[in-house]
């Protein structure tokens, strides 16, 4: 045991005493949340070049609305009122008379103008948009542009034209304009939590309003945190074991350690690295949430499960990676084995969203009961606001413990043979032979 601890100490210090570890500790959350941060930072970055849009109105009732709305918008939003600096593009509409003889030729001509850069887009309004009945092609509103699907002008037009047309329709059936506004008022169905009783006062507490971000954020953050920590603690074991083998360090170590001690030292070293990272992130997260007055959002009931599943995941995946690293003879072998070895971690990454949305579905339940995927999928199900039956995480935990023992045993047998086996790429048949026949 003392030897294993000494080896664990070396492995741990070799990993955490480097600048790379500190940088990784700081950068990992940034990299993981990189797209969100980038979107936040780029939020204010707007192309302020004026957008020239042609409008071909077959109905004859939309053009004036658009021109007036654009004029108002341009006056209100294009220039910053305090600095006078241009902060938004102006929407400049060019009215084109519809060519009723050849629609396609007119569309092609306008499309060519867009290609040449003379126009940003063109809007074509069907003749029957006010009374959409009969032939569908007569009441379509089409917005043509290079990037029309995600163009803000399309949304702007959408939100303006439809209420306008509805109001005209209402007035045609005799509804006053003031009543029309009331009729068209849209009420959102609010997401609320459950009503509770205050333990101290016995009073019924108001249910808390929950946002989509809050419902998804906690499980997703814990899920990605586990993924990061597996990458930090277990992933390097494949490469480092292969290096120790090829650089003959393993030969020297095996003069002092039994192969199972060697593998245990590597896996436990990786586990400690991960737990160090986990402690920093969890403690840091709790500290900042408290400072920001968001203590109620800290999932204290999930944190023990997080650590339990993290430990088992690192031991399980770490044993697989270390044993495969022992079977490798060069970096190319290690590279080829990385993806299959990380399958228990990568697959949950692909399917976590449906599992989070429907944590009690048969798909989510059964997949999270498969021991290779249990740590990550059971964690995200447990952290989901919908909740899961209380017995399921316990059954999952017992399953993973038993499976991890099995994997460590198999991994130890592969490691024992592989670490001294030189020459040739590791074949699946050989690895299976080492695992079951020694």
């Amino acid at each position: 045991m003392r030897k294993i601890l000494r080896f664990v100490k070396r492995e741990y210090l070799a990993a955490v005493k480097t600048k790379g570890f500190i940088i990784m500790l700081l950068l990992m959350p940034v990299l993981m949340g990189g797209s969100g941060i980038a979107m936040y930072l780029l939020q204010g970055q707007v192309d302020t070049t004026d957008k020239r849009v042609a409008i071909v109105d077959h109905s004859g009732i939309v053009t004036d609305l658009v021109l007036n709305a654009a004029e108002k918008r341009n006056a209100a939003s294009v220039l910053d009122k305090e600095t006078g600096k241009k902060v938004q593009p102006a929407y400049v509409f060019e009215v084109i008379a519809p060519d009723e003889t050849d629609h396609q030729a007119q569309r092609l001509a306008l499309s060519d103008r867009i290609r040449e850069g003379d126009l940003h887009a063109f809007l074509e309004v069907g003749p029957n948009v006010l009374h959409p009945e009969g032939d569908q092609s007569t009441f379509r509103i089409k917005y043509h542009g290079k990037n029309s699907a995600v163009d803000n002008i399309r949304n702007w037009l959408n939100n303006m034209i439809n209420p306008y047309l509805r109001k005209i329709r209402l007035s045609e059936v005799g509804v006053e304009e003031s009543k029309a506004d009331e009729i068209m008022t849209w009420l959102q169905v609010e997401a609320m939590g459950l009503v509770t009783v205050d333990e101290e006062t016995g009073e019924i507490q108001e249910a808390r309003k929950t946002g989509e971000a809050e419902a998804i954020l906690v499980p997703v953050v814990l899920f990605f945190l586990m993924f990061m920590l597996v990458m930090m603690g277990a992933m390097p074991l494949l490469q480092s074991t292969m290096e120790e083998k090829t650089q003959r360090i393993a030969e020297v170590l095996l003069g002092s350690l039994q192969p199972h001690q060697f593998m245990a030292g590597k896996v436990l070293g990786g586990l400690l690295v991960s737990l160090t990272g986990a402690s920093v992130y969890v403690a840091g997260g709790v500290f900042f949430m408290r400072r920001l007055g968001l203590t109620e959002f800290i999932p204290f009931h999930v944190i023990p499960w997080f650590f339990a599943f993290l430990i088992l995941e690192i031991v399980m995946v770490g044993s697989i990676l270390a044993s495969l690293g022992a079977a490798c003879n060069d970096p190319k072998d290690a590279q080829n084995l990385t993806f299959p070895a990380m399958f228990p971690v990568f697959l949950p990454m692909f399917i976590f969203m449906p599992v989070l949305q429907e944590p009690t579905s048969a798909f989510a339940t059964w997949l999270s009961m498969f021991p290779l995927f249990t740590p990550m999928l059971m964690l995200i199900r447990k952290a989901a606001p919908a909740g899961i039956p209380a017995w399921q995480p316990w059954v999952g935990l017992v399953e993973v413990i038993l499976f991890t023992i099995f994997i460590v045993w198999i991994g130890g047998r592969i490691f024992r043979v592989g670490i001294l086996m030189q020459g040739g790429a590791p074949k699946l048949s050989n690895i299976l032979k080492w695992a079951f026949r020694g």
Binding site: R2, K3, R6, F7, R10, A14, Q247, R248, I249, A250, E251, V252, L253, G255, S256, L257, Q258
Partner: protein
Amino acid sequence: MKGTSTDRIGYLPEERGMYKKMKVRELLQFYGELKSSRKVDKEVDYWLDRLELSDWGNKKIETLSKGMGQKVQFISTIVAKPELIILDEPFTGLDPVNVEVIKDAVLDLRSNGSTVIFSTHDMNVAEKMCDFIFMIFKGQKVLDGTLVSIQDEFGSDTLRIRTEGGRTSLDNLDGVDKITDFGKLQELRIHPGSDHQKILAEIMSRTQVYSFELAKPTLYDIFLRIAGPEAEEKADA
């Protein structure tokens, strides 16, 4: 070999097996503690000092020259005071001065009761340092014994001679199986049963002899006789 028995063995691999990013002193302490399960700071200091590596204690392994790396690897093998020491080509990469330093250290370890097994292709080292010699050729044991007993097997069939005429004066001598030319010195392998005196008299009639010695074959020569092309030809025949 299991459990504590491996702790009594020190192994120096032919290729260096050291963590490149570790510092010399840390590495030696790690290997020593792993083997002996106790602190080995004093031993590390002693050996670093003895092998003139004290100034390199805080340097990383990757900064060492090949020779220095070999010395560090040697210390890592013996720092836990093993009873059986296996050294695979221990003098690789060392200059003559360091060869002597390591050689002295090995002899000290032997005097202090450790058993040392050399795995080497350097016949001179084996001849000078080993009490027992064991040779494996093509997976078979071909020599086993002390140097004297092995040489006795081959008899005193070597005439080592220095002449004015050199190699050219030794052509076509009856009773000589092979001549090995070292430039200023030649070794003649006498055919079994041939008369040394007659051969020497023949050479003296051809040229002036400065010195001669009737000797047993060296281990190097024995190695060649067993594993050289000549032996291969005999085996094929």
